[in-house]
Point group: C2
């Protein structure tokens, strides 16, 4: 289970950095719930989740996950990762901590992302 969860986490971060959206959505169970960031209205189900990831699909972006930062406990995982989006000659750097829950088939049933605007760093490209 832990190996499968770790594998999905690595796939997830890689796909968030490169897409396609449909492959990200396919990592989620059909009735999964995404709350990103925590405190905002949750998106439930593939359609709402697809819409959510479509927003970043058009952006020039890259992600980084340090495998040694991933923590797995029971059927859940928590991990910090970094996403850099490049817009208008600037790099927007954000390192959320994501928490995910998985079903027995290794599909993500819930994702909550911990970050706020003040964690966003803006750098010249």
């Amino acid at each position: 289970m832990a190996t499968q969860i770790r594998d999905v986490v690595e796939q997830y971060v890689k796909l968030v950095g490169s897409g396609p959206t449909e492959d990200i959505v396919a990592l989620y169970a059909p009735d999964a719930i995404v709350e990103d960031p925590v405190g905002t209205p949750p998106k439930r189900g593939h359609e709402a989740i697809r819409e959510f990831y479509e927003v970043i699909a058009a952006l020039d972006r890259e992600t980084e996950l340090r495998p040694e930062d991933v923590r797995i406990a029971g059927n859940q995982a928590a991990f910090p990762f970094t996403i850099v989006t490049k817009v208008g000659g600037q790099r927007f750097v954000l390192s959320p901590i994501d928490v995910m829950e998985f079903d027995e088939e290794g599909r993500i049933t819930g994702m909550r992302a911990y970050w706020s605007q003040e964690d966003m760093r803006v750098e010249p490209e």
Copy 2:
């Protein structure tokens, strides 16, 4: 709210490294729930939480929190920290990711710790 949450997180990690237990317990709301690690039976309420922290109270230990690693979103926080316990000439090093939820008075209403045995590193003292 975010400032208050950050302050409690910093107090919490400091107290886990030094005690006393009663001061850790006082950071929790009376009916708070602790699940540490995630996947184990939750402890509910001050008495169960006190018992939980009493286990480490007798150990020679220290903790470290990097303030820049703390993520706050809504009334919740997620943060990695490191706890080192020294037993029998060895150092047991563990860096869980903790997720906490807070009430309006800044008391912890829930704590979930993400780690497993394989995240424990043993070093000579």
